[in-house]
């Protein structure tokens, strides 16, 4: 149970820590204040708690696929915020798309953790194991995020921006693919053909498989729609990021 808890909490924490670190690094590289991150984290944690409390009601929406649909909507919203951030070079220093992306990512990942932990509320005997597993998973995830942040901002500015752009594009692709998977699970879009099967090479439920899922959205048996969404969003962001700011674009603005 400890390992299961560690892996689950770590997977969700890593996903959130990745986007928090990269966008915070992005913000620092563009000379913006870091205050928005506090607002985003508090909003995200509060949102996750509200969502977890109302999980049962939400799951009944849309003919009992409410949770899948709401989660998919959040994934697409994060993806859209990142696309907005990259679309106009002048808006790259704007803080509101980053605030939206981090808040929703924290709601999404925090909700998964709270839902898992709520399953042990009645089982007092398992609490110490679950608490320890959560502490270990959260500690590893947060530490990895902090080190990633320092790694990004520690690079030379041009290289740091390229690394941050790549990580943002991977994260957005992952969000889009996960959103599509949730809609497939909700039967809102057809499953489509399976593009590859690497379950024998690297199982999704293995520790490495779960870590890669958190970092780059690894799927052992993705459908054509997931691959299309991932590749489409990744390439779109990549093209957006290739457009460099010109003098006329200025330095952008934020709240």
């Amino acid at each position: 149970m400890l390992l299961t808890t560690v892996v689950l909490v770590l997977r969700e924490m890593l996903e959130a820590a990745l986007i928090v670190s990269v966008l915070l690094g992005w913000s620092v590289l563009h000379g913006r204040s870091r205050r928005w991150i506090g607002v985003a984290l508090v909003t995200g944690i509060a949102g996750a708690a509200v969502y977890a409390v109302n999980a049962a009601a939400v799951s009944e929406w849309f003919d009992y696929v409410g949770m899948e649909v709401v989660n998919a909507a959040m994934q697409f919203a994060v993806c859209t915020a990142l696309l907005v951030l990259a679309a106009r070079p002048a808006a790259r220093a704007a803080t509101w798309p980053m605030l939206v992306a981090v808040s929703l990512a924290v709601v999404r990942e925090g909700f998964e953790i709270l839902l898992y932990l709520s399953g042990f509320v009645a089982d007092r005997g398992a609490w110490s194991t679950v608490a320890l597993g959560s502490a270990l998973g959260a500690g590893i995830g947060i530490s990895a995020g902090a080190l990633l942040f320092y790694l990004v901002v520690g690079l030379r500015r041009v290289r740091a921006l390229r690394v941050a752009e790549l990580l943002i594009a991977l994260f957005a692709g992952n969000m889009a693919a996960q959103g599509v998977l949730l809609l497939i699970q909700a039967d809102w879009i057809p499953g489509g053909v399976q593009v590859w099967n690497t379950a024998g090479l690297l199982a999704e439920d293995s520790v490495l498989g779960q870590l890669l899922y958190a970092l780059i959205g690894y799927e052992a048996t993705p459908s054509i729609w997931q691959v299309t969404a991932y590749a489409g969003v990744f390439c779109l962001l990549f093209v957006f990021f290739l457009r460099r700011p010109t003098r006329a674009d200025g330095n952008g603005s934020g709240p």
């Binding site: 320890l132 530490s143 902090a146 080190l147």
Partner: protein, 444 residues
């Protein structure tokens, strides 16, 4: 901040990953231990007669079956404990396996006794084995996690202590006054920082020597120029007497020599006003009284230009004395340079006003005129050395070397005063304001 967060993050990452790895290894080791125990219990069960087998489950959470093999016939169950069904649960082949019965999953071990073809099947509940191992290993890991906040505090404290000398060094360098090039010294200098402090001090020493050489050279050169310039002035004067037909050219030459002499005097004044020269010569001085003396000394020049000079002192400044801690020569030079400047740039018949006033903590000297004034954009640069508003082609046509106001600012800085330039209260002109700390002021 970076060091503390990065160190803590690495510490947490390494310790927690090690804890997870330790848990996995511990569980695998516990599994081996429990298997060994099950194996031993199966061996022991061979010595227990089939008739006593039913009592064993009361002393341990373990189940047994005794089977007898007969060639060509199915295996026959001889006995079993109450907590295991009387049916075959696993294939009767030696070794470990798993079986599900009684609502639990069991770890099984099949042992061939080697006598009378008896086979022992021993089974232990996996959930109990798992819980036992889990409890023991978690008890071992828990302190690592619980003590980590203390480790964090220690890291924060040690990093803070370790960086303190570096912060002290930065504070000392940052707090150095203008041209203060004395060596830096730390209360406690760790060996890692010794090289840095040593290099900084050697750099400061080289810089101080370079400044000294430059100042000595300029002062010596100016001093050496005084005599030939004086001789030159006398000779030009003599020539004017002897060659009246060249009076115009010689007057221009005499003016140029006068400017040269003024420049040399100003350079020497700058040298005399260096911090080293002034060190320890500050005494309480009444600024109002000193201004009166300077105005009186310059009165001939002012009168020659038919200018009107007014000395204004508020009641407080006159009655209670506007006391400042200053070097007399330096303060006289400051007042004279400001007055000279005002007189020089005020047209003949113009007005010059000198004011001394006292605030609760400061003494303010104001010198203003109704000359052309100084454009707003040029105000900061007027205090630079050899800078003249409008360059050499100065609109006023007044000669000068561009050192007077630089000397004023230099003296003001040495006295901890601030000097500003603005518009005069006349219709036109400039106003120079010097704000000194008042001696004996509360909190001053």
């Amino acid at each position: 901040m970076f060091l503390v967060v990065a160190t803590l993050a690495m510490l947490v990452l390494v310790v927690f990953v090690s804890a997870v790895h330790g848990y996995r290894s511990g569980m695998a080791e516990a599994e081996r231990l429990f298997d060994g125990q099950l194996q031993e219990q199966a061996h022991l069960a061979t010595s227990v007669g089939s008739e006593r087998l039913a009592t064993l489950d009361k002393v341990a959470n373990i189940a047994f079956q005794h089977w007898q093999l007969a060639p060509g016939q199915p295996a026959r169950l001889l006995a079993h404990t109450d907590n295991i069904p009387g049916t075959a649960l696993v294939a009767l082949e030696p070794g470990f396996g798993h079986a599900n019965f009684g609502g639990y999953r069991w770890r099984t071990y099949v042992h061939f006794a080697g006598r009378d073809d008896v086979v022992v099947v021993a089974a232990a509940r996996t959930d109990i084995r798992y819980r036992l191992a889990d409890n023991v290993i978690i008890e071992a890991i828990m302190p690592v996690v619980l003590w980590l906040p203390l480790s964090g505090l220690l890291v924060w404290f040690v990093v803070g202590r370790g960086l303190r000398p570096l912060e002290q060094l930065a504070e000392q360098l940052h707090g150095k006054q203008f041209r203060e090039l004395s060596a830096v010294a730390l209360e406690r200098c760790p060996s890692e920082l010794e090289t840095v402090v040593d290099s900084v001090n050697r750099l400061l020493e080289r810089l101080r020597e370079a400044f000294e050489r430059e100042k000595r050279f300029v002062a010596d050169a100016a001093h050496e120029l005084r005599t030939p310039i004086a001789v030159l002035r006398v000779q030009v004067h003599n020539f004017r007497e002897r060659l009246p037909e060249h009076a115009d050219e010689l007057r221009a030459l005499e003016g140029a020599v006068e400017r040269m002499q003024h420049l040399v005097e100003q350079i020497l004044t700058l040298h005399r006003l260096s911090p080293e020269q002034l060190h320890g010569r500050f005494v309480p001085l009444d600024l109002h009284g000193l201004v009166q003396e300077v105005v009186a000394a310059c009165y001939d020049t002012i009168e020659a230009r038919r200018q009107h000079v007014e000395l204004v002192g508020d009641t407080d400044a006159v009655e209670r004395r506007a006391l400042v801690a200053a070097d007399r020569f330096a303060l006289e030079t400051l007042v004279r340079n400001l007055l000279d400047n005002a007189v020089k740039y005020t047209p003949e018949g113009g007005n010059v006003r000198v004011g001394v006033s006292c605030g609760p903590a400061e003494v303010v000297l104001e010198v203003e005129d109704d000359g052309p004034g100084i454009p707003r954009a040029a105000r900061e640069r007027v205090f630079e050395r050899f800078h003249r508003v409008g360059g050499d082609a100065h609109a006023s046509g007044v000669s000068g070397c561009g050192l007077g106001l630089a000397i004023v600012r230099n003296i003001a800085e040495l006295h901890g005063a601030r000097v500003e330039v603005g518009d005069s209260r006349f219709a036109s002109g400039a106003r120079f304001t010097v704000v000194f700390r008042r001696l004996g002021a509360i909190g001053g």
